[in-house]
Amino acid sequence: MPATNLLQGTLDLLILKALALTAMHGLAISHRIAQMTKGTFQVKPGSLFPALHRMEDAGWLSSTWGDSENNRRAKFYRLTAAGRRQLQAETRQWETIALAIASALQAS
């Protein structure tokens, strides 16, 4: 499995995007990110949990305890309204950056 370093700020965007559809617990989020990025990003708990807690502190996520798919208790995270706005803003920013880098690399 390829391991790629996350760009600064990318992890937040990926987490926000992963949670855009439904609430998820930590393990499901990291699986979802791996799936969304076709295995390019493998988020380890050492990065995932600090990010989740930081984003919860920031008010972008809220968390509740619930039962996981195999009936274990797990903490589920969901986007707040502020989180949704943040996802939009970060998506716009990322698109700008991606476009800029792409045109820079195509320049001759």
């Binding site: 937040d12 708990p45 990065s47 949990f49 600090p50 930081r54 274990r72 803003a89």
Partner: protein
């Protein structure tokens, strides 16, 4: 993901990083005043993660012990993960300051002689400075208690008897 650490996800300043003050205050209150519960919560959360990972590995065909070991290895040390989470919490800096203060107080209490000398030296230094500057202020800086104090001038005369001996006029210097 190799060497990416939570510090790496700090973002540059900008509109995106602005966290509403209210939510920040709420987090601060939560982080400072409900610490025990927060710690328990974090512990539960990580344990649940390990258990889920173990379940998945068992479902993939591993034995019980093997699956658990593999899950723990993948997590890479529960305590390290917890430490990383604590580091990003709002109000962490206050907690560290408080801890440093407490540590400082303990150290001072243990070295009473050193503390006494340090306090005396500081007291003397501060006292001497205050005394000096009170005098300097009174003499040099305090405006005179008159209207238009800045237009008051000093007028004085010098008288040279020697000059009279040569028949010259004494000078008045203003």
């Amino acid at each position: 993901m190799g060497n990416d650490r939570p510090g790496d996800c700090k973002r540059s300043a900008g509109e995106l990083t602005r966290v509403p003050l209210l939510s920040r205050l709420a987090s601060l209150r939560r982080n400072l005043f409900t610490r025990a519960r927060l710690e328990q919560d974090l512990d539960d959360e990580l344990r649940a993660y390990v258990e889920q990972l173990t379940d998945q590995k068992r479902a993939a065909g591993m034995g019980v012990a093997e699956a658990r070991r593999a899950a723990l290895i993948e997590v890479g040390g529960l305590e390290q993960v917890k430490e990383e989470v604590r580091r990003v919490r709002t109000g962490q800096i206050w907690e560290e300051i408080l801890r440093d203060l407490r540590y400082g107080m303990r150290t001072l209490r243990k070295n009473a002689a050193f503390t006494l000398i340090a306090v005396l030296a500081l007291a003397l230094g501060i006292g001497a400075n205050t005394a000096m500057f009170s005098v300097a202020y009174g003499i040099l800086m305090r405006p005179l208690p008159y209207a238009d104090a800045d237009r008051v001038a000093v007028v004085y005369m010098r008288y040279f008897p020697r000059d009279f001996a040569f028949g010259r006029c004494a000078c008045a210097i203003i």
